[in-house]
Symmetry: C3
Subunit: 342 residues, 3 copies
């Protein structure tokens, strides 16, 4: 698209050469052919060094730019508008079942459901109105998928899994795999045995939940592993059997919640953090990145960090230990000398 | 199912309203329509606050309950029996190859093998008697899958992978991907090169192994990456090339074992722990959650924790350091005052 | 293969019984039927205890061996040659589109492209000359895959993803999933909302990149998430939206890079390490295993370790803290006694 055309669409004014614009990005990452934007004069250095071909700037900007400029009242907003123009078109998933899909005759498909190629939907499953089940998905026996839920390619829902409405399930998510549970011991003859404990429950996902790529959520041993409404789960997260996430929480990438633990409303579990099994995290508590939580958190501390997890203040003190120790060592040395001299 | 019907099936006595029961779960997580259970009077508070519609209680229970009660001799056992009734029916995987599957004519299929839709089995592979290969699985050239092994949907076995008998391989497992190996350096002209080291070996999985969803096990550079019999691996675990897990061990979710390391018999690697490459973990050693093991463990310490991993006692001492330091600081201050006063 | 035949192929001399050789492996892991090798007399113990049937040894070796020996000038090299003979044959991926694949009529396929069974390639995608797209892969709308790139089974490329030439993408990789981004807050009526921020950008992968099994790389919010040329990524790695990896770097298994962070040229991020969002790691910096990096690293320290990440020296000092503290405690005790005695 020509910069002049873009200026028109964004309701702005063109200054400089009418170059071609193909994409957009932040000032630092932008390349020739990109549109970028800046609102605040304090980022002048980033503007000066950007490789973007066009920059969106506010009317009052008087610091120049190394490229074509489009003046707009709100550069951030205009860039979002432009980003939508340059974004890959969202694929249309028209209602209908691809002829290659294997859908059992007993499956109840709602209105306007899309089922992609090579998808398998097994007997007794129910798919709500307007749901999109993309290519190469596996929906096991008796699963329920709510209205307007979008399941991306190569997701697996083992038998009995329930997914609410308006959920987004990204590629490679595994719902309803067996929980990890074994009985070990020795037989009378001294030999070791390891027996699988049957995993008889299901996974139930509430409404409005989003689950990131390759995340795994195990079915309950008995009852349900439950992810409450509006919970947002990132990529590569592990959620053990019988975990209960009450709702409106965030679980960031590569974090893990061990079996039977309860996560309250509005919690945030940061990346690579781990929460032990059979404990409770109170509503609104945040578990910092890489933290390890061995015990229940009652909410008296709102943010924990470290392994074992503690308050930010305690963790900060711990980080300073070597310095404090060195200082104290110096003091003791001095004191020793004084005592020896007396 | 009516509570009265359930009481009959469990050989118990109904007390209270003959309500409908649809599922089951622990006292805390149960919802209306659920069956729950309690054996021990010390959990009386959980019984009082449960939302279950029916609770299984022992004959001697005299503390009442807020819902319908079924008295049975062994509530735990009765609940497991009931859980099996309420569990989603285990899908029947009848012998036979789905017409959509692409199975090379040279593949040797044992008796009573199930092959699901859209599964690909490449040339020279051998599938043992009674094995179940579900939908959308990829079995590469020359792979061997043992008798009665169950492979869930969307698993990939790269060429040459060997899986023993009676294994369970969950959705999204990747066996036999290339190990991570590169030669780096600079050419005479100063330019950098990064060359792939061929990964010529295979993955071999022993009998009775279970592997959780989205776990990855790399093929050996030379020889085999080996997972010994009865090893139980959880979800999202990473096992590098040429690792050897002798057998009867457990690897919990999101743990990782770097290349060429040997894990002894009966070890337990807890969640999110990491074990360095080219070392040995002695039989029976446990590596705690999030621990990082940089060196071989000879078994003189049975449980290690922390990064770098140390004994529980040493780790406990480390956790207490800030408190001990503060105490010592106080003592030094006092001592200083005393010395100054003399 | 007979040992005599192998000796001939490797240009070596056979000593001992002409046994059958089926595979190869290191001295410690080798089993009967295996070929192994040793060059250095210091590994004599491993040779003595190996279970290999044949060992490759140099002409000057005078310490004997418990099995058949093949003398060769360079045992390491000879073993690599043998390993190639015993390796599972690399599957032939002949040019052509499998009849079961669903390839949109608008897709531009280069010369000699292989497309495997049950693969889906959506409209507007372009596949370069000699590329191999194996079975059960999903290539979304408008994706571009470069020449000679090899995509293993069950990979997903969401719409708009760009992959360079001569890349290797292993099983289960997810490129272009939505980044994690939500706006939270309270409405005027006090109710909580969580709104998805549109993820309008793409993922772009440079030439010569290798990506390990089940790794996830999110699409940018605006612009591109960029993985520069020759970057080598291991299994189960998470890369957030708008991350930029300049190139020639390594990211080891289970590490994670949070959104908008920039990784310089020639960096090495070790296993299970985490790098925070919106920071920069300078060229050539290494982040040690399980390290957590909260702030930008300018390269003044070349290797960091620990959480929060610090230099090897500082981390080493921290590890020694309990010992140093105990020593200081002793000194203070002694000093107290002295002061009291005066």
């Amino acid at each position: 698209m020509k910069a002049s055309e873009l200026a028109k669409l964004l309701g702005g004014t063109l200054e400089g050469e009418d170059v071609e614009v193909k994409s957009c990005g932040g000032l630092e990452e932008a390349r020739p052919g990109d549109l970028s934007f800046c609102k605040d004069p304090k980022h002048i250095k980033l503007v000066e060094s950007t490789k973007a071909s066009v920059v969106l700037l506010p009317p009052e900007w008087d610091k120049g730019a190394p490229c074509t400029v489009i003046r707009v009242v709100d550069p951030n907003h205009a860039c979002m508008t432009a980003a939508k123009m340059f974004a890959p078109p969202e694929p249309v998933r028209a209602p209908g079942v691809h002829p290659s899909a294997v859908v059992d005759s007993s499956v109840k498909l709602g209105k306007n459901v899309h089922v992609g190629p090579f998808t398998v939907i097994e007997k007794g499953a129910e798919i709500g109105d307007g749901a999109v089940i993309e290519a190469q998905v596996f929906v096991g026996e008796g699963c329920k998928v709510g209205a307007k839920t979008h399941i991306y390619p190569q997701v697996t829902l083992r038998e009995g899994t329930i997914v609410g409405s308006e959920c987004i399930i990204h590629c490679g998510v595994r719902l309803g795999g067996d929980g990890y549970g074994f009985n070990n011991g020795r037989r009378e003859d001294g030999s070791v045995y390891i027996e699988k404990i049957p995993q008889l429950g299901i996974v139930e996902i509430g409404d409005g939940v989003e689950i990131g790529s390759n995340t795994t959520i195990d079915r309950a041993r008995i009852g349900r592993t439950y992810i409450g409404p509006m919970t947002k789960i990132d990529n590569l997260v592990q959620i053990g059997h019988n975990v209960k996430v009450k709702g409106y929480s965030g679980l960031i990438a590569q974090s893990g919640i061990a079996g039977s633990t309860e996560i309250g409303y509005g919690c945030l579990i940061w990346a690579q953090a781990g929460v032990s099994g059979h404990i409770k995290i109170a509503d609104g508590v945040q578990v910092g990145p890489q933290a390890g939580v061995p015990q229940s958190l009652d909410g008296s501390v709102r943010y924990v960090i470290g392994t074992p997890a503690e308050s930010m203040k305690d963790f900060g003190g711990r980080v300073l230990v070597p310095k404090m120790l060195a200082k104290l060592k110096g003091e003791v040395k001095e004191l020793k000398a004084k005592v020896a001299a007396k």
